[in-house]
Symmetry: C2
Subunit: 669 residues, 2 copies
């Protein structure tokens, strides 16, 4: 770190330092994406050095501006920027360990790995979608918390995205929603470089992007030269001035700017190679033979972010203290919400359901949500145009588009966009977000559910109409493989309650445990477990439990969700034939797998034949029932017919369960 | 079927007959969607009665116009239209059995259930996406087959869609792609009724749809009154005249037109109820007390479609016969392709790979595709902007956007749109379509993969970078749950070849077997099985086979894909310790499950301890390894590191496989 190219302005020197750090980072790993960092460094510099409100040494300050690198493959740009601005855990050594085992600098940014990484990105379009969720969270929290003179929630969400993000369907869902919701503090910088991995964008992507975003009611503008710092800054300032529309700024950059491969797809996704790295350094007037070269003046310039950040947070802390004096309850709610803590004793508001009336678990879910609404005011979400069916709505709250303090979001028919927004709200902190649709359409949500699990986000996905029992809508709407699909995702907790009281227990666990979770709820009415006789929460909190036992069971019937009930009926039929059966309700595989061997053997006792009953793919059940056990499941798609008929015809009657149980018993006997 | 309302024109009478048939159909089932049929009946009438080229009594005529009901919940409209136009299997009894067990009239249209249903729809947006694929197929086949004076491929693809379709992200991917590909024969009629399930569209959907489609380079127009037959017809004729752009016609309809609930979300998704049905009939001047009432004149008018269709096909047959005389080879290719038959002996072109050089299965796949290219000219597809990585490209063919006779489609970063287009091409008939991306992004494709399986479409999905072995890109790009996710889908064939020769065998099976299939291919180089010693095709065609055996195996090591190789190495290590091991390669669960019990026990012999090795979720393996078996799998997300290090650290070394095998052997001993 000695002299610097004398002819450069401090701005330019700082930007080129960033560029070449990213280039060296990729080159050292011999893997990664140098093209976008070379093109976009001026944008990163402007944001992190000048425009964004952020505190590198205390990153988690709640009122910071958020930055989302939606084109996550440009991770070297983000990591290099975090190093230069002084995020303490982002060292030069970390840059040198880019994409290596156990570094904080994985190939694509992962939240939780390094401070300053707001969300996990890489799967294209999802950063954009999460940013919409962050901007929703900001707008809602501002409406809930801010008071005249006290804008304690007042920050922007910035996104850098590429062509790939905007080709993805989720960009449409997210952008259309953001326009409708008038998210004025969302500002997207579009790296408009005319190149995608396969070649020139004209081969596959000819749309007029600005016109498209105009159609979504966004503020749009264009900067003709990605190296025009003043132009980019002016465009961002204009975007900030438009407060009732999100903004898209298309910045025409040159991918791989300054390298011999500039402007071609060859510079997108692989290290430049030593000769090209040297040529690139030469282009920028940097020493060709030095790697990870950081001129002192450049570093000093970048590191001003540290003091600026400290001052900004100190100012905010003063504001918040004054606010807290006038609004002690809200301040308390704010403080615990942004660290994802519930109000003490909130769970006392959970209802207990009586056995006198059957109730669908989707309806029970609605009662639970509304019973806890005042105790968990941070619970916030909605459905993908299925509110009337999924019942995930707060009765006494307006909808967010009409009133930003409202807790109900009508997400529209945008399942993927909804779930990404949920992830973004979770990442923002301060809300416990949920999204809802039919279980079959968890297909559309899958990429976002995976990202929630990978990010360990406290995202809640409520899926109703959870089996063929939904009936007439038929196979296109009847989930089959979905429970297995989601159970196979690491770090995602599954919940499929058997009744209303298990539903209350599931909601309690979802709110007590951090991390990503989904619930599968029934369309059809179901009997209610007698909470006076069964410790339902105790059982559900172990993932599986004995619902009804026998002295020396000859068979264990394992049911989940609605299929617990034919197991209960089958137990009676088996008893009439002198066969003793235990019924196990297993609402969560993930939680059951966490239990002690001792507990497990008290429930799914080894040596006792087992039959699992679940109206879905049997694929994963053999782990629990063993080679000699049986599964009443579905190896086929469903059928359009009234729900009870579909269930009966496809094997989910008590009679068939008893029949199959007898086969299992004989197989062992 | 007696008199008709005297005051109505024949057109109006015919349209109202359709409306009320659909209303009665829904009412009889007490389930379904009457709103869209009431609003859209004039569109259906215009298309099926006047504008479309179709032959009800011989539906599969290859040059028919295609109609896709993307808003599949309006199924009663389609079924009633098919009945009225004379599709022989769509009887009044079928309408009366709407949504009942084993009817041809399921809740949402399913291809294969009734003639005239081109594709399965209901999951919103996918009909639109499939229609783009159909229009691609038409354009490509026209370029391949048509000769001056012989336009044997010359038809339109019509779509009816609703707000929900256009809110879905896939509509963006599909529309942007269609604009780029200049699909001039794609005409979309948008049921612009201002209502979605949750309420007025203004609550969630405020975009300017026409401007958005203008931005995609579509021809757009608006019809202000959905009952204005002449206006709709004029708009369609204008759309047909624009041959270098797809067309979107927004037709302002009134949902539930004529019913007391008209214009509200209450009429969207449930039967009207007897009183409202009567009021609706009264509104249209139809007898209130008659159900399924079809005035004779109306039926006679509608059924003109039968003779018109016969004549149209007869004319085309004449044209084709003349064409066949001049172009016998092309005619032959056409005839077999449209019934999805391969050229006899095509498989002789498949390459055999030597053992001298390691090769990644993605690269082997490329060699296979190019080796058979001339013998299977109907093989057509591309990748979602990852051609350079997935290697799914024909070397000697231009790309489709540049030349419609080209076989390579650059789909852009649009995985879901690509897969839906693949399904549409398969439904169109005449091509064997494939789409390709990284395996991890099968998440984005999941809804279309499910629909392919449900439709039993011959859609091929080629996924590469199929495990953590892809390395540095990290957990966001490393598939974990994906094999299980897709194996849980009914009627979908899985292929994960262990080497280049298995890859050739998989491609052969994919082309020999009809139905939906996916391949998971490696990024990394792999050894090659010696085809002189092993009957690779014979083995792969049974799903699993003994690759290396021992006299009295004490353990069976089951590998799939790349993980077969650590099993082969582990066998040697175990032998050094006196443990005899069998190695089974198991490229396809679906095919293995179809085999006889005898064959299965010759491979995965009962009583012999088993260890499965697969770099993915272990969830479903217990079916094959049993309670006492083991699985070397991944219950966690991957890690960003060079591939060999990620594999080693996460347990996929020969040493660890041998270690785990010994535990399994001991567990039984």
């Amino acid at each position: 770190m000695t002299t610097s190219p004398a002819t450069l302005s401090l701005d330019q020197l700082s930007i080129d330092t960033l560029r070449l750090l990213a280039v060296d980072t990729v080159q050292k790993a011999n893997s990664g994406h140098p093209g976008a960092p070379l093109g976009c460094a001026p944008i990163a510099y402007l944001l992190y050095h000048k425009l964004m409100k952020h505190n590198p040494t205390h990153w988690k300050w709640s009122d910071r501006d958020r930055f989302v690198l939606s084109n996550g493959h440009a991770s070297a740009l983000l990591y290099s920027t975090l190093f230069l601005t002084g995020y303490p855990d982002m060292t030069l050594d970390q840059l040198k360990s880019f994409r290596q085992w156990h570094s904080k600098t994985p190939g694509h940014p992962e939240s939780g790995e390094a401070t300053g990484v707001e969300v996990t990105t890489g799967p294209l379009g999802q950063g954009f979608g999460m940013a919409v969720g962050m901007a929703i969270a900001e707008k809602h929290m501002a409406a809930v918390y801010n008071k005249p003179g006290f804008n304690i929630v007042d920050h922007h969400t910035y996104v850098l995205c590429g062509d790939g993000d905007l080709m993805e369907g989720i960009s449409h869902e997210a952008a259309s929603l953001a326009g409708t919701l008038q998210l004025g503090k969302l500002i997207v910088l579009y790296d408009d470089n005319l190149i995608s991995l396969d070649g020139p964008t004209e081969w596959s992507y000819t749309e007029d992007v600005l016109k498209r975003f105009d159609a979504y009611h966004w503020h749009t503008s264009r900067v003709a030269d990605g190296n025009d710092l003043a132009g980019i800054e002016k465009a961002i300032e204009e975007a900030k001035a438009v407060t009732d529309k999100p903004s898209l700024i298309a910045v025409r950059t040159i991918i791989g700017y300054g390298s011999p491969k500039a402007g071609t797809n060859a510079v997108h996704g692989e290290a430049l190679g030593a000769a090209n790295v040297a040529a690139t350094k030469k282009f920028f007037g940097f020493p060709e033979d030095q790697s990870f070269y950081v001129p002192d003046e450049a570093l000093k310039n970048w590191r001003q972010a540290v003091d600026r950040g400290k001052q900004a947070e100190a100012d905010w802390n003063k504001l918040f203290d004054a606010y807290a004096k006038e609004n002690p309850e809200l301040a308390e709610q704010f403080k615990r919400s942004v660290v994802n803590k519930r109000k003490a004793g909130w769970e006392k508001a959970l209802p207990t359901f009586g056995t006198e009336k059957k109730i669908a678990t989707r309806n029970a879910g609605n009662q639970v949500m509304n019973a806890i609404a005042n105790e968990v005011p941070e619970l916030f979400g909605g459905a993908a145009d299925l509110t009337a069916s999924t019942k995930t709505i707060f009765k006494n709250s307006p909808h967010f588009a009409a009133d930003p303090a409202g807790r109900n979001v009508f997400f529209g028919v945008r399942e993927f966009g909804m779930c990404a927004a949920v992830n973004g709200m979770a990442a923002h902190e301060g809300l416990v977000p949920y999204g809802s649709t039919f279980f079959c359409f968890s297909d559309y949500c899958k990429p976002a559910i995976r990202l929630a699990a990978l990010s360990r986000a406290h995202s809640i996905f409520v899926f109703t109409h959870d089996s063929i029992a939904l009936g007439e809508d038929g196979p296109t709407h009847q989930p089959i493989e979905h429970l297995m699909m989601l159970r196979a995702v690491p770090d995602l907790t599954d919940y499929r309650p058997a009744d209303a009281n298990e539903t209350a227990a599931c909601w309690r666990l979802v709110l007590e445990r951090n991390g990503a979770a989904f619930m599968a709820l029934s369309r059809q009415d179901l009997p209610v477990i007698d909470a006076a006789k069964v410790d339902v929460y105790g059982g559900v909190s172990k993932g599986a439990y004995v619902l009804e036992d026998a002295a020396n069971p000859q068979v264990i019937l394992i049911g989940t969700g609605a299929e617990v009930w034919p197991c209960v009926e089958a137990k009676k039929l088996l008893e009439q034939e002198g066969i003793a059966a235990r019924v196990v309700s297993m609402p969560s595989w993930e939680i059951y797998d966490e239990q002690s061997a001792e507990y497990k053997s008290s429930v799914l006792t080894r040596g006792v034949p087992k039959l699992a009953v679940e109206a879905g793919s049997p694929l994963g059940w053999w782990k629990y029932v063993g080679e000699t056990g049986g599964v009443v499941g579905l190896d086929r798609f469903g059928a359009s017919a009234p729900g009870p008929i579909a269930l009966e015809k496809l094997g989910f009657s008590a009679a068939n369960v008893a029949e199959q149980a007898k086969k299992v018993v004989k197989g062992r006997g």
